[in-house]
Structures are given as structure tokens and as C-alpha cells.
């Protein structure tokens, strides 16, 4: 019984901390009868909150990397992100080209430094 609980614990966490807090917004959308204007102030504000939060997660992953990525110097990680950003705009806003450029810069940087 105890062993089963230990095995199932990660899935319980997944449902309570991942699935439900995420799914609730889809469900509210389903039961909301009236339409919501894309430009309504509430929608704009919730989008800015979500954008800032996600940007925060991204910056933390680059600056305070764990595991094997943490073994690559901080300056190389930040430099590679900047390269990706520049390549993205230089190559007609292509996410794919930006990712390839950033990864190439990270690999080159970590081999050089």
C-alpha cells in the first residue's frame, strides 16, 4: 500500500499542481456562455501577466541553469541567447533559424571557452 502510494505520488502531483490549475481555464471557457472580446481589458491584462511570468521562467533557466547546461559558462549561455535573438530578427522572424543560430553559438562558445 505504501509502495503503491510512493509510485503514484508523482501522478497525484501532476494532477493537482499541473492538470487542474491549467485545465480550469479551458473549463471556464467552455461554460462561459457569452463571448469575450479579444481586446477586452481583462484579456489584455491576463495576457501580460502570463507573458511576464513565462519570460521570468525563461530568464531563470538561462541564468541559473541546472544539470549539464549549468556546466556551460554563464557568459556563453547569455551570449548564445543574444545571438539567437539577433538571428531571429535578421532572418525574417524565423523561430527555427533563431534556435539553430543560438544552439550553434552555445556549442561554439563552450568549445572555445
Amino acid at each position: 500500500m505504501k509502495a503503491a502510494l510512493v509510485d503514484l505520488w508523482p501522478y497525484l502531483v501532476l494532477i493537482l499542481v499541473g492538470f487542474l490549475p491549467n485545465e480550469v481555464w479551458r473549463f471556464i471557457g467552455l461554460v462561459t456562455a457569452r463571448g469575450l472580446n479579444e481586446d477586452s481589458q481583462l484579456v489584455v491584462w491576463s495576457r501580460t501577466v502570463a507573458t511576464a511570468l513565462l519570460a521570468g521562467v525563461i530568464a531563470k533557466l538561462i541564468l541559473f541553469s541546472s544539470g549539464e547546461l549549468g556546466g556551460i559558462p554563464l557568459a556563453v549561455r547569455v551570449g548564445a541567447a543574444v545571438c539567437a535573438f539577433i538571428a531571429f530578427f535578421a532572418l525574417k522572424r524565423s523561430v527555427f533559424a533563431g534556435v539553430v543560430a543560438g544552439e550553434a553559438a552555445l556549442l561554439a562558445g563552450s568549445l572555445l571557452f
Partner: protein
């Protein structure tokens, strides 16, 4: 590519959706994102099965990123849940906008459950683009097929990233782990077309590490609320002045 207006059967409409998904550019974006998430999941120490189940149940890459990286950090589960829910508010207006396109005269609420769960950015953009060309009685089946194609791609890519990270030498594993912040960074930059979204992005990039460095409780929640509200406030003041 515009799919045919009518399908001979519901099954054909579903398969048409799967085909549309596998042929779209979003498949490449999803592959990159989920290979990266797979590598991160391996790094964090959750199982490959757990990752696959999370992709099927959560089906939102930002929420999964916050969940997986949050479980590895010193954050409490409540903090992670708050961050996940704040990242997911966008799903609400997306579902509201999508349902009228899917709904037909005889549609029951339970027919809408699956498309509601499947709602995510890639599926949403493609559904709004393609569904108007699909006969109304086949739209739900087509949309479910489209979503299955995307979700299947994500599950397979996640597993590939997970096992790649397990077998690669440290340097290449580091390069693979960099895929997650990089692809999320660029797609967020790409999505931030309006000045208000650009400001929110910049504030988040600055506040996130700063609040974490100062060891502020609920740092991600405050990054979102303070950064987002600041951007929104500046946008409103500018708007009212005009």
C-alpha cells in the same frame, strides 16, 4: 493548404485533421519544444511515462515547463500551482473564441469536451484558419484529428528528448537542455507583436531572475503580476493620453 470542404465520413474528417497537423509548420515547432522539455524532464528526474502523461493531461508547453522546472526547484507545490494557473489564463479566451466555430445545430456539450481539452496555441491558430473551409458537421472530428496529430508529435518528441539526454555526452546534453529556454524565448518574442506584450516580456525577463536572486517568496507569481501589471498600466496611460 486548404482541405476539401466535405469528407465522406466522420472517420475521414478525423484522418484529414491528422494529415493537416503532420503537414503544418507547427509540427517542427512542437518537435523542438518537446525534445527540449524531454531533456529537461530527464535532467529533473521525473520518468518518461510521467512526461508523456503530463503532455496528454496538461497539453500546454508553458505550463509543463513551469511544472517540471518548479518541481526541481525549492518552490512549494502551492507556488508551482499558482504559477501554472497564471500561465494558463490565455486558454480561457481561446476556448471562448473557438467554440462558436466548432458548434453546429445538433452539437451536445459532451462533444465539446475533447476539443476544449485540446485547445492550445498551435491547434487554435490552425483550427481558426482551416475549420471555416470544413463542412460544419465534420468540424469537431477534423479538429480532434488535428489535435491528435499535434499531441502525438509532442509525446513522441518528448520521449526522444528524454532518452537523448540520457545517452548524450555532457556538452551535447547541455546543448539539448538549452533548446527549452531558447525555443520558448523566441516564440514568446515572436508572439509579442503589440507594445504592451513586448513590455511584459522585458519586465518578466528582468524581474524573474531578480526576484529569484533576492529569494522572494512566490517569485514567479510576483514576476507575472508585477511585470504584467506594470506593462498593462503603462499601456493604459498611453492609451488614455491619446
Amino acid at each position: 493548404m486548404v482541405p476539401p470542404t466535405t469528407f465522406p465520413s466522420t472517420a475521414a474528417a478525423y484522418l484529414g485533421g491528422v494529415k493537416s497537423a503532420l503537414g503544418s509548420v507547427y509540427v517542427i515547432v512542437l518537435m523542438g519544444t518537446y525534445v527540449g522539455l524531454g531533456a529537461l524532464a530527464h535532467d529533473v528526474g521525473v520518468s518518461a511515462l510521467w512526461l508523456a502523461v503530463s503532455t496528454a493531461l496538461v497539453w500546454a508547453a508553458p505550463a509543463q515547463l513551469i511544472l517540471i522546472s518548479g518541481l526541481a526547484s525549492s518552490s512549494t507545490l502551492v507556488e508551482v500551482a499558482i504559477a501554472v494557473t497564471l500561465s494558463a489564463t490565455r486558454l480561457f479566451p481561446m476556448v471562448v473564441a473557438l467554440l462558436p466555430v466548432l458548434r453546429g445545430p445538433g452539437t451536445r456539450l459532451r462533444d465539446m469536451l475533447l476539443p476544449t481539452h485540446f485547445t492550445s496555441i498551435s491547434m487554435w491558430v490552425e483550427s481558426l484558419r482551416l475549420l471555416p473551409h470544413v463542412a460544419r458537421e465534420h468540424r469537431i472530428a477534423f479538429c480532434n484529428g488535428l489535435s491528435t496529430g499535434y499531441m502525438g508529435t509532442a509525446v513522441v518528441s518528448g520521449a526522444i528528448g528524454y532518452y537523448l539526454a540520457a545517452g548524450l555526452p555532457p556538452l551535447l546534453a547541455g546543448v539539448l537542455l538549452f533548446l527549452t529556454p531558447l525555443s520558448f524565448f523566441l516564440s514568446t518574442v515572436n508572439n509579442a507583436r503589440l507594445a504592451v506584450d513586448k513590455m511584459a516580456l522585458v519586465f518578466g525577463l528582468l524581474l524573474g531572475p531578480l526576484l529569484a536572486y533576492w529569494q522572494v517568496q512566490l517569485d514567479l507569481m510576483w514576476t507575472g503580476v508585477i511585470g504584467g501589471t506594470l506593462a498593462y498600466g503603462i499601456h493604459r496611460v498611453r492609451e488614455l493620453r491619446q
